[in-house]
Symmetry: C2
Amino acid sequence: MYRLNDWQISDDGLSEDDVLQNGNRLLTGNGYLGRRGVVDEALPSDMPATILSGIYDRHGDLWREPVNSPDPLYTLVSVDEKPLRAGDERTVSHEQALDFRYGIYSRSTSWNINGKKAAVKAQRYAHMEDVNLLCMRYVISSGGQCKINVRQGINREIKDLNGPHLGNFRYIEQSQLKQNDITQRIKGLSCETLEKKIPLSVFSALVNDKMQYIKEEKISNSDDGIFSCLTFDIVNDTEIELIIYGAINTEKECVKAAEEQIKKSLNEGWENLLKRHKAKWDKIWNTGDVVIEGDEYAQRCIRYSLYHLWIIAPRYTENGNGRALSIPARGLSGQTYKGAIFWDTEMFIAPYFRSVRPQMASQFIRYRIQTLEGAKKKAVEYGFRGAFFAWESQESGDDACSDFNVTDVFTGRPVRTYFRDKQIHISADIVYSIQEYVSHTGDTSILIEGGMELILEAARFFLSYLYYSPEHKRYEVLDVIGPDEYHERVNNNAFTNRVVLAVFEIARSYIEMFQKENPLFINDLIKRISFNDDLEFMKTVIDKFYLPQPDSRGIIEQFDGYFRHEDCSIETVRSRLKDPKEYWGCSGGVATPTQIIKQADVVTMLALFGGDYPAEIKKANLDYYEKRTEHGSSLSACMYALLYCETGSSDKAYPFFIKSAEIDITGKSKHFAGLVYIGGTHPAANGGAWLTAIHGFCGFSVCNGEIKIKPRLPSLWNKVKFTCLMRGEEFEITVTKDNYSICKKQ
Amino acid sequence: MYRLNDWQISDDGLSEDDVLQNGNRLLTGNGYLGRRGVVDEALPSDMPATILSGIYDRHGDLWREPVNSPDPLYTLVSVDEKPLRAGDERTVSHEQALDFRYGIYSRSTSWNINGKKAAVKAQRYAHMEDVNLLCMRYVISSGGQCKINVRQGINREIKDLNGPHLGNFRYIEQSQLKQNDITQRIKGLSCETLEKKIPLSVFSALVNDKMQYIKEEKISNSDDGIFSCLTFDIVNDTEIELIIYGAINTEKECVKAAEEQIKKSLNEGWENLLKRHKAKWDKIWNTGDVVIEGDEYAQRCIRYSLYHLWIIAPRYTENGNGRALSIPARGLSGQTYKGAIFWDTEMFIAPYFRSVRPQMASQFIRYRIQTLEGAKKKAVEYGFRGAFFAWESQESGDDACSDFNVTDVFTGRPVRTYFRDKQIHISADIVYSIQEYVSHTGDTSILIEGGMELILEAARFFLSYLYYSPEHKRYEVLDVIGPDEYHERVNNNAFTNRVVLAVFEIARSYIEMFQKENPLFINDLIKRISFNDDLEFMKTVIDKFYLPQPDSRGIIEQFDGYFRHEDCSIETVRSRLKDPKEYWGCSGGVATPTQIIKQADVVTMLALFGGDYPAEIKKANLDYYEKRTEHGSSLSACMYALLYCETGSSDKAYPFFIKSAEIDITGKSKHFAGLVYIGGTHPAANGGAWLTAIHGFCGFSVCNGEIKIKPRLPSLWNKVKFTCLMRGEEFEITVTKDNYSICKKQ
């Protein structure tokens, strides 16, 4: 069972399910790599993974997915020839923990070997400054005389969901360097990805100062990796401390770079490395923390959530003009969801970074700008113009989403899903997010450097997508999937129509702005991309665009004909399941013919465009849709929370906030869509927790450089303190039940 | 195994499957009622049925379906207290046969009872002139001394698919009438349908002149019906002949009418009744027959097919101004497909009757005119205007089609299908059929008497349904199901778009015609139904309407994006089935994500609108689509046959002709869609066989009163002879390989 303390979460579980959950729960990372919280001797079935951000590969014709690196920290101890694995029949005690202030994973396990006690305590972290570096301190203790074998090195025995992805392996053995009686054993491995031949180099160094016990040492290498094999003869109770460094590099000269990283680290040493690492985290929390008074559990949850955002945020590509990265829907917690970037980043994660690290939010936009060509290609593929962004975006903007995204549990057959074809709102979400960024930061340079072109191409896409209904004398958006994916291929989804209109409005307003401030730029752009006719048409469309309106009860129909669907309870729908892993949506799903929806849809629209609607409309829709929402997506709860806050019901919002904030703590979320594993961490919910705390409970918003606060804390909370960076200045904001202060930090 | 001879088909099978198949194969009927070809002592599990045309009922919230009458011909014989049933363990021989020249079913069964032989020979028919009457001659023979019990009467033990449908039963016992030593026992029953309280009366009379053997007689009635129970003491080899009349009536005064029918029949007697019955058939064949020389099998098949059309054609409502009826997709062979009328009648059955009995074709149109209000209601239900005809039409034009038309074989759950919502081509098929009727008969009175209003309302429906694509500057028809039902909710289905355009063109051309010939009528109609604005808009639409065009290979894409679907073989798709009863289409169906289609779709379009396209386009599409067509519908083969004939490949058409013509002979067709039983006879294929023989092989067509013949007989055929009634004149047409003659009959 897990325990959550201040800045720490721990778990002593050993079941198969515990191992899978803790892999996510105790994840460490630094934006370059993510390392699952599994023990150092993990077997492939424990799903160990060291996921590399932004590196993807395809094996055969299986789904493209992020590359899982060989593991340089692999360590297996045997006592008297008996290998010790957490959970084996000799295990006496076991606990893993995560210090989420500093991103340090630790494990402590003890075994009983024929009456003798053996124990391992280890700590490891992904270095926050030297992002290619993994550090581990590994202490073996034994009670009495025994022989200890240590097999430590670079393990290739890892499990890919759709792999393997690496080939052309070469091993590198370094001569042992001995300094001051300390042995440093360095092993290296180089290989490349199969599809794109991206070079990958992994180094592992083992430092050990208990030379006196060493009886034998050798390097072994085979198909499963390259390892140091040490044998210690122990006579009394003693401790053997090993320091292990791993370096992973994917640059052009990756062998050299990884080797240099290792040698530099060996020189710097454990203490100094840790000091630099912690300093980096201290700096992060200095801006990034949220302090909640009056609710210890919420305090711990929100910090845990923010931790998860920081370990996957690609700081190392943040500045400079090179390749920009973004954040996958399951972070760096594994290969789930193809390591792809969804709308999660723009709508749920970007708001936090916009406030505390604008250059990160800017990077997310640059990532989309860099994938604009992919989006244009996708539009052409479907017979449209402009930019139709990938629903599941990887490095090139090509869509990683397959036509068959779910596996039928009864037949084992892939099921045709329309996420790729019809979830067109993704292009609008990106535009919306750019506008929010510009409004917060005032940084219009991003518009000039590709953002404006992206916006116009997105507008062009929607102009080529929409239809005119002569019957209703209006422009409509047909055949889409809204946020609620249980209902595919619907017409006039209220959310989608609203964000599409927003694209047109944003495009028009920026054009007007630039025509005043930088006519040369905008006129040149419009000419270069031949947007003039589209612009004229766009103005016509804005005037006759269809937004589904509230009915006599104040309820906005989610899409045309939604009210015709069977109106039954979630329990009724659930009772119709014949298999717990059944996907509720798409073809034949139990929810599809009913009004039961996967996640906030109209409610998301109202949360984003609250200004357009009076409170009673929001209330009516909250009331109607809440009982019909299954919350099968981690994106759902925070939109309910936000809208409840907006309608003055913070206490109704509170359980939704908790649901978002604790999702990766409890591990309670859907692990399967059909037969496809979708487990992992939930960055969008992590971001959603912040959104609820700050935008929701504190009523924080920024509009054109002006900070607004409207306190509406839930009952338990007395005070919230957080930081907002805006236009080069740093503000410390304190919100109490009835008051607030915004202080410029010095 | 069945045997097909001249004018006769017989079968000696006794398995469960044989019994089900023969129920259809040996069907008799007269347009008022259809009686399945089961033995007289059939158990409910044998699916006995006497289906009443145009009478529907709903039980609870199950599907509405035609009413199955209690059976007045039920006869069960017991010898020495042992009931004799065909197929029981004592059965020695069994054969059933159908004389399809005169619609007479016969059966002959013998049993071995402890070494003694007992046999039953029976003949029965549905009277072609007195349509409320069923006649049966039933002969029992026994070898040696025995006791024979006969239980004969009105049996209520029938199996409904979604029943029961009758209630408020009352039994009527008539005093025995004795004339000339002949006993006539009359039983009656009255009841009413549950939903609409339609009165139903059934009478049964038993005539027996072997008084000498009768030992005992009584009337028994209970929940299973009312019966005469006769006991005969037989001493030697002898035969007992029973004549049985059944009368079924659903008029207001049905008890009186049924009783009168029975008494009249008793007076008239077996021989005279049979004579009148046969005379009626002789008259029918005099016009309706098709004579094929050179191909005995084809000759037998086509006559068998035409027989099936005549036994379900509602002649009794043909004339007069009362209620008009049409032909259900499974004729009167059972309750399958809800006894509903689909596009089958208009597109596949009407052509035959148009040529040989125009008043029947006219009745089909009147049926649609009478259901126009239902069609207008359906349009409103879906948010459109005009006439959206029922996909599955029953008496009122309300749509009997449910939102869940298929049952998933794996979960047992109903599957959402879109036949009702999206198969909009039905409204266009009706208009197309009206135009064909008018062109053949010159009868424009049908237009004045509601036909024109129907056409304009259908046009209005499509005008309210279509969208304008600003991107492509054209009007499109989105979100439909074409003839190929395996692909639901597609855009710009080539067939649908073509027939929708035809509606506009037909509407426009009739308006122009009437504006010359009867401006008062048309102007008044346009004004009365406020069609002026629609008319103006319709003209605009015709000019900018999108018809999918052949690509560089000459192939017309079935719908937008069809070519993106997996291109694999029918065998590949079939191999993916996990259950033989799986429905191939809709959600999760094996065909849905592929290019495998259920039935002719583009090919149907090309067969109907051949004049629009050159031969090479037709050939290219035949070639492309044939290998991708599963022919999961009985409507498919004849469209291929027609198009092959048109492209000069009659020998390629021939197997398709045979497939259509023998469908109810072989019984080889789909019996299940998901878990829903869809077996029965196939009137559309019966009509399709005629279409192929006459329109296809003989190249027969009628355009504005002019008969055209273009001989293209298949290799085997030397000569075809058939009749065409046109504009009050009767033509005998003879077609040989290279020649033809059209002679006016005197």
